[in-house]
């Protein structure tokens, strides 16, 4: 009954992540690459993403503080990298915020950039928290539980 319970807990978390539009197809692709040889593959990729992306967030934060005037090119470049990293784990909502931010950059809209970035950080933190809980569940359940067996 425990195994069954774990499966349902994981399914509940996953359902929430997709249902809330936080993750997209890319995350499923990652799970399909996970197997017995690489049982923690997805968690490893996600951990790497959060390491990279937190550095980018700091850089963007810093660049937004240098307001005389804002260097929109630099911001756009940083956000381009951040978006790429987010895409790699299927972070759907975060990615959407990245796109919005870049539009504001191209329009030279400083206020828009600031607002959008605040929202982005919120989405980023929310997803991170959920994914941490998800991987905690997965680790508890054992390697079989999150591997996608759609084949």
């Amino acid at each position: 009954m425990d195994r069954n319970q774990s499966r349902r807990q994981i399914a509940a978390m996953k359902q929430s992540l997709f249902d809330q539009g936080l993750l997209d197809e890319q995350f499923i692709q990652l799970e399909e690459l996970q197997d017995d040889a690489n049982p923690n593959f997805v968690e490893e990729i996600v951990t790497l993403h959060y390491r990279d992306s937190s550095r980018l967030i700091s850089s963007i934060d810093q660049a937004l503080k240098e307001r005389n005037p804002l260097d929109f090119n630099k911001l756009d470049t940083l956000m381009h990298q951040f978006k790429g990293s987010s895409s790699s784990i299927g972070a759907k909502k975060v990615k959407a915020e990245c796109n919005l931010f870049r539009e504001y950059c191209r329009a030279g809209n400083a206020e828009g950039c600031m607002r959008s970035f605040q929202q982005l950080k919120k989405e980023y933190a929310a997803l991170r928290k959920k994914l941490e809980a998800y991987f905690q569940l997965a680790r508890q359940a054992g390697p079989q539980e999150t591997a996608c067996r759609s084949k």
Partner: protein, 183 residues
Amino acid sequence: MAGTSSSEIDIPEFPSSLNVLVIDTDSGVLEYMEKSCKEKSHKAVICFESSMAVEVLRKEEIEIHMIVMELNMPMMNGFEFLQFLDEEGFDIAFVMMSDDFTLSTMTKAFQLGAIFYFIKPFGDRLLDLWPPFLKHYYDRRHLEDDETGDGEAKADEDDETGDGEAKADDTLHKKDDTFHKKD
């Protein structure tokens, strides 16, 4: 019956139109559930207090097929309600809902008998998930009934075909696949 050895266990279909008892203090959630149920041809019986839900169950005027309940209800919370169901012998599919997705909370809900857990806030496709895990719930329930000898004829069929257990397991896998395919 001898001679009617089909390869499938004769599991009664769970009702496609469900009576769902929804318990939450949040009128937004109650409205959403009511609307969603209607779209899927289910009937929602809404309660904004746990005591109302207890009444509905005890009165037995309407057969409840599923309960969806917010964990943090004031007088009787989700955990206590599950215990109440157990004590009074109500064997009804129960889904917990909450914005609390901590491991300990979710584990406790499942341990006390919840079959699923909806994490708030909801997206649009919440109710798409109902059929697969509900079917699984009903399949397992009938399998357990067979094992305890409630369905003797069915038990014989199990022996003949030998794949009763496998069927239940396939249901589990199918549930996962359905979930993945949707996304």
